[in-house]
């Protein structure tokens, strides 16, 4: 019995589910007690049926895919810029100074703080949201890549040279895999920041770019006082967050750096 109990608690996912159920029960009790106005504190079944409705008519799925496609484009662009800038920094110290100055200036700036300027320069379309995503992802990614390249044991490079690798070979076969733990960490931080940034930016820009996205969806729900729909949107945002952070990155780490004993 004791062993079963321990196993139950040790399983991360079961424990997670257990607490979600408890929180759900507390929510439902509060909602049923009608302490708060039901229009602003709806019951769980109302939220779920609204969510199911939005899913079946495809609206929320379309908005989610749109938000994800924005992130995907932003992250892809940030990835290329980060690799180029950190790669050049690894070669030239002067250039590294330049990149570090850029980081010092840009990294503390929240993407949202740049909004007025972005509207002025780029306008209010998709381009502006992608710009904010790039800004959110780029700096943590570069910081981690730079740390990653610096933390590579010198002995790896010596061995690469000893076994006849040229500079390109050393980068491809040694520096890139050796920096992977830092790369994944940078990507994780970048994703978390991009996901938050995209929701905020969509709320500000609305459907100006075309579809609007998840941020715009929950904003609209509030405007029309569709509180269950608003909570439905929040559930989707949380769900995507968990899916990427706890499942995608967890798996990615399991088949790479944790398998190799390289976790940082």
């Amino acid at each position: 019995m004791l062993i079963m109990k321990n196993k139950f608690i040790n399983n991360k996912y079961i424990l997670r589910l257990f607490w979600i159920v408890i929180l759900g029960i507390i929510w439902q009790v509060v909602a049923l007690s009608q302490v708060f106005n039901p229009t602003s504190f709806p019951r769980i079944e109302t939220i779920l049926s609204s969510l199911i409705h939005d899913v079946t008519n495809g609206d929320i799925i379309l908005q989610t895919l749109y938000s994800l496609s924005l992130i995907f484009r932003g992250v892809a662009a940030a990835l290329i810029i980060a690799i180029v800038l950190s790669g050049l920094s690894a070669i030239s110290q002067t250039f590294e100074g330049f990149v570090e100055t850029l980081i010092a200036i840009a990294h503390p700036l929240p993407g949202i703080a740049l909004l007025p300027l972005i509207i002025l320069w780029i306008g209010i379309g998709e381009g502006a949201i992608i710009f904010i995503i790039i800004h959110s992802v780029l700096w943590p990614l570069i910081i981690n890549l730079l740390t990653g390249f610096k933390s590579i044991p010198k002995i790896y490079k010596k061995i690469g040279k000893n076994y006849g690798l040229n500079t390109i070979g050393i980068i491809r076969y040694i520096l890139i895999p050796a920096a992977l733990p830092y790369f994944i960490t940078g990507l994780k931080i970048g994703w978390a920041r991009a996901w938050r940034a995209v929701i905020s930016a969509e709320m500000v820009f609305g459907a100006a770019g075309g579809i609007g996205g998840l941020g715009w969806l929950i904003f609209k729900k509030r405007v029309f006082m569709d509180t269950p729909g608003l909570f439905g949107g929040l559930i989707v945002i949380v769900f995507i967050g968990i899916l990427v952070e706890d499942i995608f990155f967890d798996r990615l780490e399991k088949i790479t750096i944790r398998k190799w004993g390289m976790s940082i």
């Binding site: 000893n162 006849g164 690798l165 895999p177 190799w260 390289m262």
Partner: protein, 251 residues
């Protein structure tokens, strides 16, 4: 027999806290093909620096080093170094891939299947069969060093340079690896330069032992070690040899 490696009047200094520190001072010796040569001396005497110069990892200030009549200008797969550090294997590759990786770069004329066979063969020689798919972090220190030796030998280097490879191992594992190394050396007729501060280890392994003093160092003495192999650590001859070298180091 001509010398495979000729070291002539090598000097080397480092800059430390804007002061020049001489490490090696006019060191000269030759290494014959097939020879097992050890270099002993107190820590900080410059023996690892000397090995690094032979490996081509650092440049010397004066003198020259000739490998097969050609001056050494940089690292080469002809002269493979095995280090003391356990992290000389790549953690993202399995044991087999670690051994295979240099072959894939340098021996592309051999078919991939045969390269894999070759890697497996050398792993077997260091008694690591069955561990091909392990990752380095799953291995003990001794097994990591054996993998590093297999990786080096699979390249068939003309000289194997070993920088205290067993220095971080417990005494039992160290003794075991010494026997494996001697067997390998005999079987593939390797030329080995082995740096150690363990005099007993030098006497067990080598044909000739170079004794270095405190830096800035030149060679104190070169001692020929003709004891019969396999060597018995408890024999009078062995103990006398150890004492002879110990006295030289202490001088």
């Amino acid at each position: 027999m001509t010398s495979l490696l000729k070291i002539n009047n090598i000097s080397k200094s480092f800059i430390k806290d804007s002061k020049k520190v001489d490490v090696l001072n006019k060191v000269s010796f030759h290494v014959k093909k097939g020879e097992f040569l050890s270099i002993v001396g107190p820590s900080g005497c410059g023996k690892s620096t000397l090995l690094g110069l032979i490996g081509g990892f650092e440049e010397y200030d004066e003198g020259n080093i000739f490998f097969k009549e050609e001056e050494i200008l940089g690292p080469s797969p002809n002269r493979i170094m095995v280090f003391q550090e356990f992290n000389q294997l790549f953690p993202w590759q399995t044991v087999l891939k670690n051994v295979l990786f240099p072959l894939n770069i340098n021996k592309t004329e051999i078919q991939l299947d045969n390269r894999i066979e070759l890697a497996k063969h050398y792993l077997q020689m260091v008694k690591l069969e069955g561990y091909e798919n392990y990752y380095p972090h799953e291995l003990s220190g001794g097994m990591k060093q054996r993998t590093a030796i297999a990786r080096a030998l699979a390249m068939k280097p003309e000289i194997l340079l070993m920088d205290e490879p067993f220095g971080s191992l417990d005494i039992e594992t160290r003794t075991q690896l010494q026997s494996i190394l001697i067997e390998l050396w005999k079987e593939i007729k390797a030329t080995i330069i082995f740096v150690t501060h363990d005099i007993e280890e030098a006497v067990v392994l080598s044909d000739r032992i170079i004794v270095m003093g405190k830096s800035p160092t030149s060679i104190r003495d070169t001692i020929v070690n003709n004891l019969d192999r396999p060597r018995d650590r408890l024999s009078t001859g062995f103990i006398e040899k150890v004492k002879e070298i110990y006295d030289k180091v202490k001088e």
